[in-house]
């Protein structure tokens, strides 16, 4: 079996300071949003389940940073990061987690189903793998309408053994659909380590089976993700068909907030926390585009204020009237 080859083409990056700061801010927004949501959840203020993406910010931001507003994404149960990276306001995000009228989905969807058509967010999804063929369909729609948009599907490593993965990617491959398939490989599906359910060293081996390129990326390296995503997005926009990206990363929390994650060693968690994508990107910025503690402070404080205001907005928002629970069934 061949060893997985990690792409190492950082030299080519075209990240300028403005873009870098923007991407950095998006990561910080995700981090603070997720941490705040976790605290609220632990206090029993948020109903339902909560799946945190802390630790995985570079994947969401690296990929969405390479997208335009009119590009589409489909997401997963662990979708907050993708949606925020795509541009979502934290106020309507929190409002949805609280189940309020002002939430993206008016409280009908909740954390696992956030959608916003304006932002091209076609939906977080509670069914593992289900967003993959839907993204292929969005790609098909783009191709038929003749626009130069791109459709991205995010999914976890757990999704790659679903029928939906197989059928969805093959369809995109044979029709050269403008899609990018992004596997956030955080090494676990719930408690199941990947090597239990896969006999290959890297998922990119599967790309060959569909006749499309696959690229293995360090998912905690924002620059690497951004560059790989740009390549894949450009390829898609140019009508050359889909790409499969595997971004290796790690979720700091358990599968859901409250999961003690007894299935993984503490050292492993520490190992990955030491590879936190945020300070890592700070270091890159310092070296390449200029970034200092004051910059850092400014971003973190601005985001903290945004989070605080957003939670207040959510908490003060009205409950959705019960009639909506019957009115939204049909168009």
């Amino acid at each position: 079996m061949t060893r997985p080859k990690r792409s190492d083409k950082k030299g080519e990056t075209r990240l300028d300071r403005t873009t870098a700061l923007d991407l950095y801010t998006r990561m910080v927004r995700i981090r603070q949003f997720e941490e705040k949501a976790a605290r609220l959840y632990e206090q029993g203020l948020l109903p339902g389940f909560l799946h945190s993406s802390v630790g995985q910010e570079a994947v969401a931001v690296g990929v969405c940073g390479a997208l335009r507003k009119d590009d589409y994404i489909t997401s997963t149960h662990r979708g907050h990061g993708h949606i925020i990276a795509k541009g979502a306001g934290l106020d309507r995000m929190f409002a949805e987690l609280y189940g309020r009228e002002t939430g993206f989905n008016r409280g009908l969807g909740g954390s696992m189903h956030i959608m916003d058509f304006e932002l091209g967010v076609l939906g977080a999804n509670g069914i593992v793998g289900a967003g993959i063929p839907i993204a292929a369909g969005a790609g098909l729609s783009i191709q038929l309408r003749g626009t130069d948009q791109v459709a991205v599907a995010f999914f976890g490593d757990g999704a790659i053994n679903t029928g939906a993965f197989h059928e969805g990617i093959n369809l995109a491959a044979i029709w050269d659909l403008p899609c990018v398939f992004v596997c956030e490989n955080n090494l676990y599906a719930e408690s199941t380590p990947q090597e239990y359910v896969l006999r290959i060293p890297a998922l990119t081996e599967r790309a060959r089976g569909y006749g499309i390129p696959g690229e293995l990326v360090d998912g905690n390296d924002l620059v690497a993700v951004y560059d790989a995503a740009r390549r894949a997005v450009e390829r898609a926009r140019a009508g050359k068909g889909p790409t499969l990206l595997e971004c290796r990363t790690y979720r700091w929390y358990g599968h859901y907030i409250g999961d003690p994650a007894v299935y993984r060693p503490q050292e492993e968690v520490e190992y990955w926390k030491a590879r936190d994508p945020i300070p890592r990107f700070e270091a890159w910025m310092k070296e390449h585009v200029g970034f200092d503690d004051a910059d850092r402070e400014a971003v973190w404080q601005a985001v903290a204020a945004e989070v605080e205001a957003a939670v207040k907005f959510a908490e003060e928002s009205p409950l959705t009237p019960v009639e909506a629970a019957l009115d939204c069934v049909y168009s």
Binding site: L108, A130, I134, A135, R145, A164, E167, N170, W175
Partner: protein
């Protein structure tokens, strides 16, 4: 108006006209492009006319067919996805039920899913257990879906056009046994639609109401003819046309007129749509019920292969006739419609 148009033709015309009218409409499914033009030839000629981009052959990937339909529908297209047999929707149930049907709702009313899933199938051809099911009761139980099951070429064309224009996901089920039936259909290009959710009285009558849909409507009409001839009974045949949402008002109105009801489908009787219809009529008009509502449905078994066994399990005209006779007899209502008939009913 033409007198004698094949159901197949009527369906093809509907697709053709909607594709011509609205360039967002496109078709995808297994073997639908020319030269095959679909396993049952409904799409024959359309890929030649509109190009292989708008009439797309897919791999055998039902999850992807429906899933891609969902993705295209929520981003501005109006896909018509073909699933070769309704049975194969089992493969794609998540995309149908937990994606297509729920996306509008989960999005808080933001997104629409104007997706038509055309499929065909049904019993009567010795296609055995995996190619003969009538599964409408499942979709009937899923809020967010519409379920359309026409019985005539006229309705098929008008309903398919309406389904394509509808902003919701529609399961459009074409019963195979009807493909070669014929009937009047307006001239091509003469735009008409048949509204979803409205039943149609296919035959007026005063003695008993028979509610049916799809091919069972034809059997109900045959049964009605036989009953008229042999028993002097005038049955009213209500064709649901749309199974979900079903037209409660029309059914109730007919029942209030006739005072006797038979609900007939070829799906398995237990848990079938007939149970809901019967339960609802009891609930809404119990004072008028003086004899049990008869439910005709398949016996509790998968569909067997051998023709005589299949005929035993799956009901048709004869079972409807018997159900009507029993109902009228038990209701003591043959007095009103002829003594000879009552005697005959005694023999059933």
């Amino acid at each position: 108006m033409r007198d004698n148009v094949l159901m197949r033709e009527a369906l093809r015309e509907a697709l053709d006209e909607e594709m011509a009218r609205d360039e967002r409409v496109f078709l995808m499914g297994e073997d639908i492009a020319d030269p095959m033009g679909g396993s049952y030839k409904i799409t024959l000629g359309l890929s030649t006319k509109y190009g292989k981009h708008r009439v797309r052959n897919t791999p055998i990937s039902e999850i992807a067919i429906v899933g891609a339909g969902v993705g295209a529908a929520i981003t501005g297209m109006r896909p018509v996805a073909e699933i070769m047999y309704v049975d194969f929707l089992e493969v794609a149930m998540d995309q149908v039920v937990s994606q297509a049907a729920k996306i509008r709702y989960m999005s808080g009313g933001q997104l629409s899913v104007p997706l038509v899933i055309r499929c065909q199938g049904g019993p009567g051809r010795s296609a055995a257990a995996q190619h003969s099911q009538m599964l409408e009761a499942w979709f009937f139980h899923v809020p967010g879906l519409k379920v359309v099951m026409p019985s005539t070429p006229y309705d098929a064309k008008g309903l398919l056009k309406a389904a394509i224009r509808d902003d919701n996901p529609v399961i459009f089920f074409e019963q195979n046994g009807l493909y070669n039936t014929r009937g009047p259909v307006p001239d091509p290009g003469e735009d008409y639609t048949v509204p979803l959710g409205k039943a149609d009285i296919k035959r007026e009558g005063k003695d008993v109401t028979i509610v049916a849909y799809a091919q069972m409507t034809l059997f109900a009409l045959q049964a009605a003819e036989q009953l008229a001839k042999e028993d002097g009974v005038e049955a009213e045949v209500v064709d649901l046309r749309t199974v979900s949402p079903w037209d409660k008002e029309t059914v109730l109105r007919s029942f209030r007129k006739t005072g006797a009801l038979v609900v007939a489908h070829q799906a398995v009787r237990q848990g079938g749509v007939g149970a809901e219809i019967a339960a609802t009529v009891y609930e809404e008009a119990l004072d008028l019920v003086d004899v049990e509502i008869a439910r005709v449905g398949a016996k509790f078994a998968p569909t067997p292969f051998a023709p005589h066994l299949e005929r035993y399990v799956i009901p048709g005209k004869d079972e409807i006739v018997a159900a009507v006779r029993t109902t009228l007899e038990r209701g003591g209502r043959f007095g009103a419609v002829g003594q000879a008939a009552a005697q005959r009913a005694g023999a059933v």
